[in-house]
């Protein structure tokens, strides 16, 4: 009787303990799973955010370079009449005034393609990328002036097209491709 009583009292206790253990294991597993899923989601969002942020940052650099090209004369402003080196070309621009492209600067741009490609890229703030600049009459596909090299991987290139006039008032498209 005593044994039976003892057995009957320890049985439910053991069962309750087992139930608590299973409960704890199940909830522990679920919490771990949820944590892993959360970490995974956070990782995906972080990757997406970092990628988008870097794409926007790169697009902003190209945009700033296109601004410099069509809105400023560069520094020194008379770079088209002096010998250019990596050290003396502080910024690069083709304009004689806002949205007016200087023919003298466009001609000089073509002339320095072989010798000062790296200096021009650096002055545009795009030293690490391939840079191509093309100036064509509006509605025309053949460039009047071209400079630089296009990236072999066109899918990773960023293109900014800007409008301006030459100093004889012909409307032109200035196409900056960076990749």
């Amino acid at each position: 009787m005593a044994t039976s009583l003892s057995g009957s009292s320890s049985g439910p206790r053991a069962g309750r303990g087992q139930m608590w253990l299973i409960d704890a294991m199940v909830s522990g597993t679920f919490i771990t799973l949820i944590l892993f899923v959360m970490l995974g989601i956070q990782g995906q969002f972080t990757d997406k955010y970092v990628q988008q942020d870097s794409e926007v940052s790169f697009a902003n650099s190209v945009l700033a370079a296109s601004d410099a090209l069509v809105l400023t004369p560069g520094r020194p402003a008379n770079w088209d009449y002096v010998v250019i080196s990596d050290s003396n070309l502080e910024s690069f621009g083709l304009a004689s005034s806002s949205n007016v492209i200087s023919t003298a600067k466009a001609l000089r741009l073509v002339a320095i393609n072989a010798t000062n490609y790296t200096a021009v890229k650096a002055a545009l703030g795009l030293a690490a990328s391939n840079v191509s600049i093309e100036i064509m009459l509006l509605g025309n596909v053949t460039p009047l002036y071209s400079f630089g090299t296009k990236s072999s991987n066109t899918s990773r290139s960023t293109v900014f097209e800007r409008l301006a006039v030459m100093d004889d008032n012909r409307p032109v498209l200035v196409r900056l491709e960076v990749g």
């Binding site: 919490i31 949820i34 959360m38 989601i41 956070q42 969002f45 972080t46 997406k48 955010y49 988008q52 942020d53 794409e55 926007v56 697009a59 902003n60 945009l63 296109s66 601004d67 069509v70 806002s98 949205n99 007016v100 509006l138 509605g139 960023t158 900014f160 097209e161 800007r162 409008l163 301006a164 006039v165 008032n169 409307p171 498209l173």
Partner: protein, 139 residues
């Protein structure tokens, strides 16, 4: 029996609190990343600059002055030469009366969306100042 029900209710309350805590933690983690879509994209940046450039070009080439004199064909032609996929709507207003003197849309761009780029400028012509407005968007 009443004690067991009360305990079970207590355990369920704890479960609910834990679940709510986890749900709030997930929401808290995701909210800071939800505004990534509001960053200006390449197309938006591009069309903003392109619109400002185009208005400047239309003024410098004399297309706006020709439009103010009654001949809008040059302005129409210039708009049609702009990059494919970009739409523009031009309007010239009399600064004194605020009336629209003339308006030109790029061919095939009649529906103006809510989000767009805009550029404004003034043109002095024949003793009168005109306000020029150019709206641009990606079609």
């Amino acid at each position: 029996m009443t004690g067991t029900t009360a305990r079970r209710g207590f355990i369920f309350t704890l479960d609910a609190l834990l679940a709510m805590g986890l749900a709030l933690a997930v929401i808290g983690l995701l909210v800071p990343f939800s505004d990534t879509t509001s960053l200006p994209g390449h197309d938006e940046l591009h069309v903003q600059r392109y619109t400002a450039d185009l208005l400047m070009v239309l003024q410098r080439t004399g297309d706006v002055r020709r439009g103010l004199s009654g001949n809008t064909s040059a302005l129409n032609a210039s708009l049609s030469l702009t990059s494919a996929g970009k739409c523009f709507s031009f309007r010239a207003l009399n600064m004194t009366t605020s009336e629209t003197v003339f308006a030109v849309n790029k061919t095939g761009c009649s529906t103006v969306p809510a989000t767009l780029a805009s550029a404004v400028s003034n043109e002095y012509y024949n003793g009168q100042t005109y306000r020029l407005e150019l709206l641009g968007w990606v079609s």
